[in-house]
């Protein structure tokens, strides 16, 4: 009985969900393209920084999937989000009036790597090697810009056909790290990954260069960005969006920047992502039939 009481006390003491309903809580989220713990660490710092700059309580909530981030944004559960190129486009279509306000300096020149297992014997080339045709191929997550959208765009450009026609099998690994693991183990012969994730994996020694290597680098495109809801000023007072944008662009804390990793943030607008949107439309990922 005593133990049960103690257990009960423990349960109560650790219970969460204390919601302050008095004034609107400024909350943001980010697409889960990394290890959960890393995301919480990175965006916890951002939340602290923004709280201090904006003089409001800022909270980061982690989500499990790309659509969960978009839904949270659409439902006003979050007012700001760190989206990828495609998820940002989807979110802005779902919430009219919302705007891309800042992107990382490096996000202006993002790229994807095509990687292949050594046993395929495919050599690196200037264009996407024709030898990838007929192999098994894996994307990353279905809604990822660097793991799905742009690789698919360049596959269609090179072969004039949908990936399902070009490759003997097309899979979705769900995550960049898994794409590396699956191609490295030879489960898939070829894959497409976010260049930043690949380079980090190489630096950490997680990549066995005898098994897997980069065979092609895509041209550069715009990727990640901070997107804010259009009604933010109504919710938090006039001029809030301005203040928020300035605060994001002014981040110079090395610890925060390194955690992304970005060298600094630069301003962005919706037009920067027009090409991404057109690509998504062209390959039927947005509602066009």
């Amino acid at each position: 009985m005593r133990y049960l009481t103690a257990l009960l006390a423990l349960l109560v003491s650790t219970s969460g969900f204390a919601v302050d309903t008095q004034r609107p809580q400024f909350t943001f989220t980010a697409i889960p393209d990394q290890n959960e713990a890393e995301l919480v660490r990175r965006f916890g710092q951002v939340a602290d920084y923004l709280s201090e700059q904006l003089k409001v309580d800022v909270e980061y909530i982690p989500v499990k999937s790309y659509p969960a981030a978009i839904t949270a944004f659409r439902n006003n559960q979050v007012q700001l989000a760190w989206f990828g190129g495609l998820s940002g486009v989807q979110a802005r279509r779902a919430v009219p009036g919302s705007e891309a306000i800042a992107q990382g300096y490096e996000d202006q020149f993002f790229k994807s790597y095509f990687i292949a297992h050594k046993s395929t014997g495919i050599e690196a080339g200037d264009g996407l090697p024709q030898a990838v045709a007929g192999r098994t191929f894996t994307f990353g997550s279905k809604g990822s810009t660097s793991g799905r959208l742009m690789p698919e765009f360049y596959i269609r450009e090179a072969f004039g056909e949908a990936p399902e026609e070009v490759f003997s099998r097309v899979g979705f690994s769900g995550d960049h790290s898994r794409t590396v693991a699956l191609v490295q183990s030879g489960a898939f012969e070829v894959g497409a990954v976010n260049y930043a994730v690949w380079e980090k994996a190489v630096a950490n020694g997680d990549v066995d260069a005898d098994q897997v290597s980069v065979i092609w680098t895509t041209p550069e495109y715009a990727d990640y960005q901070w997107t804010v809801r259009g009604d933010i000023d109504q919710q938090f007072g006039a001029g809030f969006k301005e203040k928020l944008t300035r605060a994001l662009l002014a981040i110079d804390d090395k610890a925060i920047l390194d955690s992304f990793p970005r060298s600094r943030f630069v301003s962005a607008d919706n037009d920067v992502y027009r090409a991404i949107e057109q690509t998504a439309q062209a390959i039927g990922l947005l509602d066009d039939f």
């Binding site: 049960l4 257990l7 009960l8 349960l11 109560v12 650790t14 219970s15 969460g16 969900f17 919601v19 990394q34 290890n35 959960e36 713990a37 909530i61 989500v63 499990k64 999937s65 790309y66 659509p67 969960a68 978009i70 839904t71 949270a72 659409r74 439902n75 006003n76 559960q77 989807q90 779902a94 297992h117 046993s119 098994t136 894996t138 279905k142 809604g143 099998r169 899979g171 979705f172 690994s173 769900g174 995550d175 790290s177 898994r178 693991a181 699956l182 490295q184 183990s185 030879g186 489960a187 898939f188 997680d206 066995d208 098994q211 990922l285 947005l286 509602d287 039939f289």
Partner: protein, 510 residues
């Protein structure tokens, strides 16, 4: 020749029934996408093995939080489902209640959760509802059958004409079925823990949430710690999930994690509006609507075909594995420590999420239907094997002593065969539901397309596909009822079939 003539004459023969199922599975196997394409899995397997023996809890606060969520989701879900199931079971003689129950349980927890997350956000309410509805449907069916099966003579003795008043029910019918209902509820709690872990894979903050992250990013030490936690939770149930402690466990669960949701009428309205099929909602021209229908039709055709293919193969393999595996938990073959170990092995197999088995299979065997087939066979086979082995204790030892092989082939299997088929039929609809769900891991069953639809916020398409998947489950349920009626002994037929589901042996110490 004589054999075939004889075979064709046996209209109700179990041999013939088995033959048809095996033949269908063989045909499916011919069409199934099964390829072994492995090159260098060694590195990843080595990392997995290393992780398994070096479990590590990175953040103990986060871990404790996940354990509490896992327990509270399952406890709240099961208790509320038992309540819902109980109310439905009282009216189980009404056709529309049976249909309602069947519809509730025909949609997988994961799909319910995907819907509720859209309405209530990532919240406790979404998680509890996702367990409550399908479990309520299942519990209603089992409670209902248990009540139907109970001896009607006390009720008749009291009111010869037959009465249906509330007190009549509580005093003459409920007490007779109560014990079986309690046992079944305990078994559902184990299922609920597994389900709440699986819900983590789509974003609810249970152990599965962190397990999925750990597996996805190759952090096998954390994955190993979380798996061991899951196994410990499932195993320890028999010690603490007891009726006499419920009065404290249930309030504790609701105090620790009160039901909450982030919802607004506007969000609900938006979601419902999004569920209206695109052509109607956006008033598309005919040509575009046709393209959309064609696109949707392709997904349905491919999803249904792959789901059916995979499920029929898995059903037969599950049967074979269950028959063999049941010997590990049967007094006819093993005793003492050997049996505890054998049953422990089955418990581990059925507790491991298919997700994990599938991922290991993918690394080792390469992408095809094979990893999913193996994962589902091991999982479902271990469940039936455990139940069947436990049941075999009730039959007499063979009269003529013989070696284990002879005993298995000429005594054990023939004696238990009816019971075995009853378990398989019962599991059939579940296998179909799980096959559809596994698609979210990449095999192109219905779940693959459902996941894609949610990914691109096409809720109308998602809902249509979920309805198709529910339709498949309902058909399997219907066919298996028919077959049980036609082929099985009266006490294993649906109306009296509750003992095959109540699993009273699940919580007995081996």
């Amino acid at each position: 020749m004589h054999f075939f003539k004889h075979f064709l004459q046996q209209r109700r023969s179990l041999r013939r029934l088995t033959f048809y199922f095996a033949a269908i599975a063989l045909v499916c196997l011919a069409f199934a996408d099964i390829v072994i394409s492995t090159r260098s899995p060694g590195h990843e397997l080595w990392l997995m093995a290393k992780g398994l023996v070096t479990p590590r809890i990175e953040d103990s606060h986060q871990w404790l939080d996940a354990v509490i969520y896992t327990l509270t989701f399952s406890l709240q879900g099961v208790i509320l489902a038992a309540g819902l199931g109980f109310v439905l079971s009282i009216f189980y003689h009404l056709a529309w209640v049976r249909v309602l129950g069947a519809c509730l349980r025909s949609v997988h927890e994961v799909f319910w959760a995907l819907i509720f997350i859209q309405i209530f956000g990532i919240s406790t309410l979404a998680g509890v509802l996702a367990i409550l509805l399908p479990f309520g449907g299942t519990i209603a069916k089992v409670y209902g059958e248990q009540l139907e099966e109970s001896d009607p003579s006390p009720a008749r003795a009291l009111l010869p004409g037959g009465g249906t008043s509330i007190s009549h029910f509580f005093y003459t019918r409920l007490p007779l079925a109560f014990h079986a209902m309690r046992n079944y509820t305990a078994y559902r709690m184990e299922c609920a823990i597994r389900s709440s872990v699986v819900l983590g894979f789509i974003g609810l903050p249970t152990l599965g949430f962190h397990l999925e992250t750990a597996l996805r990013t190759g952090d096998y030490s954390s994955a190993s710690a979380l798996l061991l936690t899951l196994l410990a939770l499932v195993y320890s149930l028999r010690f603490w999930f007891k009726a006499k402690w419920l009065w404290i466990l249930v309030p504790a669960a609701f105090i620790a994690r009160p039901l909450s949701a982030q919802w607004s009428a506007a969000n609900l309205g938006q979601f419902l509006w999004d569920c209206v099929p695109g052509p109607i909602r956006q008033d598309w021209p005919l040509e575009k609507t046709l393209r959309w229908l064609l696109w949707l039709g392709e997904q349905i055709a491919s999803g249904v075909w792959n789901t059916a293919l995979l499920a029929q193969i898995v059903l037969v393999l599950t049967g074979i594995f269950a028959l063999l595996g049941s010997t590990l938990n049967s007094s006819h073959f093993v005793a003492g420590m050997a049996r505890s170990t054998g049953d422990g092995f089955l418990l581990i197999l059925r507790s491991l999420p298919e997700y994990l088995l599938n991922f290991i299979g993918l690394i080792v065997l390469g992408p095809s239907m094979l990893p999913a087939i193996i994962a589902m066979t091991l999982h479902n086979g271990a469940i039936i094997g455990h139940l069947l082995g436990g049941h075999s204790d009730e039959i007499e030892p063979a009269a003529i002593p013989s070696g284990p092989l002879c005993r298995f082939a000429y005594y054990y299997v023939p004696t238990l065969y009816q019971r075995f088929l009853a378990y398989c039929f019962y599991r059939w609809e579940i296998i179909i539901r799980e096959t559809a769900m596994l698609g979210i891991l990449g095999i192109p069953t219905l779940g693959f397309y459902i996941d894609s639809a949610f990914e691109f916020l096409r809720f109308d398409v998602a809902l249509i596909l979920i309805a198709v998947s529910a339709g498949m489950t309902l058909s399997a349920d219907y066919i298996s009822r028919k077959l049980r009626h036609q082929f099985l002994k009266p006490d294993l037929r649906p109306a009296h079939g509750s003992q095959i589901q109540m699993a009273p042996l699940t919580f007995r110490n081996p």
